[in-house]
């Protein structure tokens, strides 16, 4: 009955595309959503692979997609779904197929390929991808990874081997024309491999789509197979659309907004909490094979127990509610798991894996015996127990009663780069600088190579922390945050609790009412291993210089700065941020003050939990609110306003205008500096161009002379080649100058516009 219902639901969903209004269709077409991995089209008879691991986290999406990807700047979509199972009456290339949500079709039935990773042992090898519209030979197929084309055949199958030299190869099928050749090097997200078409068997023989699959060594099967690519495609598509990819520890987290609930059936969960575990104090909740599980932590001991078991295992869970138990050492878990088998007394087997309470998901792996009818082992198999966080909390711990901790979904650092963008290098310096792109304004770093799980607890548990990091020039890792406020808060927390000072750097933090000196902060920032000369040159001297600007007076290096005074901490923050970014800080006063509010709230929760005293403890965020609050609500009337300052003391529209003016002033300053840098670069490029032109003329004369003497001489040919080479270089230089001039023009226009705003407000913007 369930299968029948699922089938009917599937058909109804598909038919919506036929009978719905055009507005409704447009809405569905443009609102990206997807079913989870392994959630195959219900009409498919085989099961998929519900593996949330992202085996290829760095891949680009194999079609040109994104909000402005079209040649006309319009959005380009892609639609992952079945080419076999369609609603009745829908044509193979019917527009009704070009809708969200996506469907995984790895392991889909009606395919006879040997697929050891599929539940049935056979099935579809990869993922079928429809382009933005059913137009043949129009849409670009892009390389997903840097690599080399190792095969192109008459059936337009292209195989690319990744340049990471890790044995990964990917296939692109059904393209026409193919635009790459064997042994050609391809670049991730750049090289156009061909156009999406319908070639199969050397003729137009399938729907217009790209078949994409990848081979690699499977970690459990221990052999090379076609791997699940759906999660990697979801992550790369999210990035292409400017969404956080939700990949943490190489696992795709669940997005409650865009990931559709499973309609595959077989995932019915008991409506009542298991009697044996009712009222148990669980640290976090997880979903395992459709059952709701609880993690019970007691010292280093960890148990994973059934709370609401899947209906198919209710009886077994009543008999044995503890699925996994063992011990944690650091973040490594080792213990036993049970395999429900009533006749053999639910045998246990060894299991291990990396576990963290604030992970979005984790996998425990072990080898268990396959038992025969007499309960004796006849074989062994690798068992993977996958646990996904029951609520999407962005990887953060839960609050009391399982309520989510500060929500982070969908937030990204406002000064970060858009996906695919790269920082500009001007005068050897990156713009925007890493400290801004990471929203970690003093670039607090941790040693390179340190895993996220082994970072200090205050970092791991900080709201809005990302497990992906930038690295600085020493290969240390710069902690990256999702919001500016989270970054400011982290800085303030560091000053209060972590900054090392004292004669032998024996003190941690300057306390809840910090009064540090510039000299102390310089030493704390440089770290214990640096010489006094280094501290003076790299930190203290610039601090003194910048402080004189922001405090509008000289600040001695041993003057105590009372950071409980809002104006002092704002000036001190800008002093420190200025040094890291190499330019006027971009952060606004509102962002700063709301960041301080966040830092104080998190500090209160961390103090309650004793994070700094006990590295094992997990904070409960009772005072800290969702990150969005510190962006949207903080400072609004009647709800914890930022501390008043002379410039923001006036309420109402004038205060708002003052804040905007402050931001505009800061931006003007930044733009002026960039304009100067660009002008310098332009001058340098012009000098190089002139030099090249002069050289070119000289060579042209030389070539003419040689040709008149000995037309086919070796020297003349060599000079000819050099001439062509120089001409190409000159073209490149001219293009760069044009590009620089365009940027200068845009900046000048922006500057003028901003000045006009200032003029309208009758204010001097500086």
């Amino acid at each position: 009955m369930r299968v029948g219902n699922a089938y009917i639901r599937a058909v109804l969903v598909m038919l919506l595309g036929v009978v719905g209004t055009s507005d409704a269709t447009a809405q569905r077409r443009h609102d990206f959503s997807y079913f989870g991995p392994g959630d195959l089209q219900p009409m498919a008879t085989e099961k998929g692979v519900r593996d949330r691991r992202v085996f290829f986290p760095d891949f680009a999406f194999p079609l040109r997609v994104g909000p402005h990807a079209g040649s006309d700047g319009q959005p380009l979509h892609a639609y992952l779904n079945s080419q076999i199972f369609r609603a009745p009456g829908v044509a193979v290339n019917g527009i009704e197929n070009y809708v969200y949500p996506w469907r995984d079709n790895y392991c889909e039935s009606q395919r006879g390929w040997s697929m050891p990773n599929c539940p049935a042992g056979i099935g579809h090898q990869g993922q079928d991808i429809r382009p933005s519209s059913p137009d043949n030979q129009v849409w670009d197929v892009l390389a997903v990874d840097d690599g080399e084309v190792i095969s192109v055949n008459a059936n337009t199958t292209v195989i690319v081997r990744s340049s990471a030299n890790n044995g990964v190869t990917c296939r692109y099928l059904h393209m026409q024309p193919v635009l790459v050749k064997k042994q050609q090097k391809v670049v991730r997200g750049v090289t156009v491999m061909g156009k999406v078409s319908n070639f199969m068997g050397g003729v137009p023989g399938t729907s217009i789509h790209l078949h994409f699959d990848c081979e690699a060594t499977h970690p459990e099967l221990r052999r090379k197979v076609f791997m699940p690519v759906y999660t990697s495609l979801v992550a790369s598509y999210r990035r292409a659309w400017g969404l956080p990819d939700l990949v943490a520890q190489r696992i795709l987290a669940r997005d409650p907004e865009r990931e559709a609930p499973s309609d595959a059936g077989g995932c019915a969960t008991s409506s009542e909490v298991l009697e044996a575990t009712r009222g148990l104090n669980v640290s976090s909740r997880w979903v395992h094979n459709c059952s709701e599980m609880g993690a019970v932590v007691d010292g280093s001991s960890l148990k994973l127990v059934y709370l609401r078991p899947q209906t198919t295992v209710v009886e077994a869970a009543r008999r044995n509610p503890v699925l996994v138990q063992g011990n944690l050492q650091d973040s490594r878990f080792r213990g036993k798991a049970i395999r429900f088998n009533k006749d053999c007394n639910d045998p246990a087997f060894d299991i291990s894996g990396d576990f963290s309470l604030d992970a979005q998901s984790f996998v425990l792996t072990g080898e268990r015996a396959v038992l025969g009818s007499n309960c004796k082992g006849i074989d062994t198999t690798i068992e993977n127990l996958v646990f996904e966080r029951a609520e999407s909390t962005g990887g953060r711990p839960q609050g009391p009663d399982g309520q989510p901790s500060p929500s982070v979904v969908g937030l990204t650092c406002p000064f970060g780069l858009k996906p695919g963008d790269k920082p500009r290098i001007i005068g050897g310096v990156e713009f925007p600088p890493k400290s801004e792109r990471s929203c970690n304004f003093t670039a607090i770093t941790l040693p390179g190579g340190q895993s996220f799980e082994s970072m200090p607890q205050y970092v791991q548990q900080w709201p809005g922390i990302l497990s992906e990091v930038l690295t600085d020039r020493f290969d240390d890792q710069i902690i990256t945050l999702r919001t500016a406020e989270a970054g400011v808060g982290l800085w303030y927390y560091w000053v209060m609790n972590r900054a090392r000072h004292g004669e032998g750097l024996e003190h941690s933090g300057f306390g809840q009412k910090p009064t540090p000196t510039l000299a102390q902060l310089a030493r704390a920032m440089a770290g214990a291993g640096r010489s006094a000369d280094y501290v003076q040159k790299v930190y203290l001297a610039p601090y003194v210089k910048f402080a004189s600007t922001y405090f509008s007076r000289d600040v001695d290096d041993d003057e105590r700065i009372d950071m409980s005074i809002p104006e002092n901490r704002w000036n001190l923050a800008r002093t420190m941020f200025r040094l890291e970014s190499g330019r006027e800080p971009v952060i606004s006063r509102k962002q700063f003050e709301c960041g301080i509010a966040l830092g104080l709230d998190v500090n209160a929760d961390f103090q309650t939990a004793g994070i700094e005293k006990n590295p094992q403890v997990k904070a409960v965020f009772s005072k800290t609110r969702g990150l969005a609050y510190y962006i949207d609500e903080c400072g609004k009337s009647g709800d914890q306003p930022p501390p008043s300052t002379p410039s923001t003391a006036v309420d109402g529209p004038i205060a708002e205008l003052n804040r905007k003016l402050e931001i505009a002033t800061s931006q003007i300053s930044v733009l002026m500096r960039e304009k100067s840098a660009l002008a310098v670069e332009k001058t340098s490029l012009e000098e190089r161009l002139n030099s090249s032109l002069s050289r070119l003329q000289s060579l042209e004369r030389e070539v003419s002379r040689l040709k008149s003497q000995e037309p086919e001489s070796t020297e003349a040919i060599r000079s000819d080649h050099l001439l062509q080479s120089l001409q190409a270089e000159n073209k490149l230089l001219a293009a760069r100058i044009q590009s620089t001039e365009r940027e200068l023009l845009l900046m000048t226009q922006l500057l003028q516009a901003t000045r006009e705003i200032c003029r309208l407000k009758s204010t001097n913007c500086g």
């Binding site: 395919r111 056979i122 190792i150 095969s151 008459a154 059936n155 199958t157 195989i159 030299n165 060594t217």
Partner: protein
């Protein structure tokens, strides 16, 4: 004799320096993300094939044979000139001891001699060769590299076509209607994963749906290069 005009150009030097740096950095990054599987050259068929191959090479009038360090570090299994009726030399270099006695359901539309396109990595630890017989084309690749982050230790011998005592055996379900046009075989030969990708055009469709015929290809593999390092 005039000197090369651009030899001293700062721009050229800068570009060359940048290129060198890129190569070095890229190589360093790649190195960190790969591991290599050891090659087992010891089984009888492979050692026999290797001896025959080396004899053939010694007989072939070539300017100078490649030093071992510049040869592939894994067996380059591939196909001979006549896949249906291998000659004596090819049979001696075969992976299988039964090459000459087994039949293969080879499509009649296939050209007598394939066009061959070879490719191999600069690191000499992988190769990818294309064989094009017109209506049917086959790629065979072997690769010693894998991603160490997968924490894998390949201990099992898992192949779509089991090769035992030089003979392939097949235990795979017949292909279904949507498979037409292509086939894939994953093999483990000499401890290394090899993949055979086939494409069948008009006239050769039956081959792409005939698993037994595909597995019989394994018996036609002959040693075309590689040497123990």
């Amino acid at each position: 004799m005039r000197s090369t005009p651009m030899r001293g150009s700062p721009l050229r030097r800068a570009i060359a320096g940048w290129f060198l740096l890129t190569v070095v950095v890229t190589a360093g990054t790649a190195e960190a993300q790969r591991s290599q599987l050891p090659v087992d050259w010891s089984d009888n068929n492979t050692s026999g094939a290797l001896e025959s191959f080396e004899r053939d090479m010694a007989r072939t009038p070539r300017p100078k044979s490649l030093p071992t360090s510049r040869q592939l570090s894994l067996p380059r299994w591939g196909f001979g000139i006549d896949l249906v009726r291998p000659n004596a030399n090819e049979r001696a270099r075969s992976l299988s001891s039964t090459t000459s006695t087994t039949e293969i359901a080879w499509p009649s539309c296939a050209a007598a001699v394939p066009k061959v396109g070879e490719a191999e990595g600069d690191t000499r630890d992988w190769y990818s060769d294309d064989y094009d017989w017109g209506c049917i084309s086959i790629n065979i690749m072997g690769d010693r590299n894998y991603d160490p982050r997968l924490r894998t230790e390949i201990t099992t011998s898992a192949s779509d076509c089991e090769v035992k005592n030089g003979r392939s055996t097949t235990a795979v379900t017949p292909s279904l209607q949507f498979d037409r046009g292509s086939f894939v075989l994953h093999l483990r030969l000499n401890g290394i994963p090899y993949t055979i990708n086939g494409s069948c055009l008009r006239g050769a469709e039956a081959f792409c749906t005939n698993r037994a015929a595909q597995c019989a290809l394994v018996e036609r593999l002959i040693l075309k290069g590689g040497a123990p390092q």
